[in-house]
Symmetry: C2
Subunit: 122 residues, 2 copies
């Protein structure tokens, strides 16, 4: 049996849906009710409510307490966890460019020394 997901896995799973990311993008502009959130998505209220439950479970939003008017607000902590996690891999995309740079410089240098297309190391 799989163990219950860790918080980062829960966050990433919650974010792996374009509608939920669109809801977060809307909430980034300010708090909103379920009705307000449902409007731009041409989605039923229950469908939006299900998405909100997933976001709430992941701690990505919080909801007001009043029974009728329960505005949703974005909460940043899980997003920061994603940013912190992915930051460990930053060198891989900066290095790709560094390596391409090195490669292009090398190719250029060899081109000048030996003529074209001779000394490719793989």
């Amino acid at each position: 049996m799989p163990s219950p997901p860790d918080p980062l896995s829960t966050t990433l799973a919650a974010l792996s849906d374009p509608t939920r990311r669109a809801i977060l993008a809307r909430l980034a502009t300010g708090q909103a009710t379920v009705t307000e959130l449902a409007a731009p998505f041409s989605m039923s209220m229950p469908a939006v409510s299900r998405h909100l439950k997933v976001l709430e479970h992941a701690g990505l939003i919080t909801r007001g307490r009043a029974a009728q008017w329960r505005p949703c607000r974005i909460t940043a902590a899980p997003l920061k966890d994603v940013a912190d996690w992915v930051a460990h891999y930053r060198r891989f995309w900066t290095e790709s460019f560094d390596r391409l740079d090195d490669y292009l410089r090398e190719v250029q240098k060899k081109g000048k020394k030996h003529g074209h297309g001779k000394h490719h190391d793989k």
Copy 2:
């Protein structure tokens, strides 16, 4: 019927598993074969292969061509997409601290003016 997931959703779903993130962390130290990747996880080879397929489908790893020795390598582009996406929300966690700062400064100021614990606005 749901439409096929967009690339960012596919990436985030692939990352929403601790074993797959551990595999990426291992590959961040250098390329590895399936056997080498399976070793630390006390996992069957088919289970590891399934995880690798998910990572490969999301473009997070590439695999060598040789039939026997198919080393896996991390690929950075989808991770950069995650970093770029989450960066849009950076102000939410920096603002939280800014707001806390403002609040603490205000409380301190009011404490000095009026004595303690009187003028909380909410």
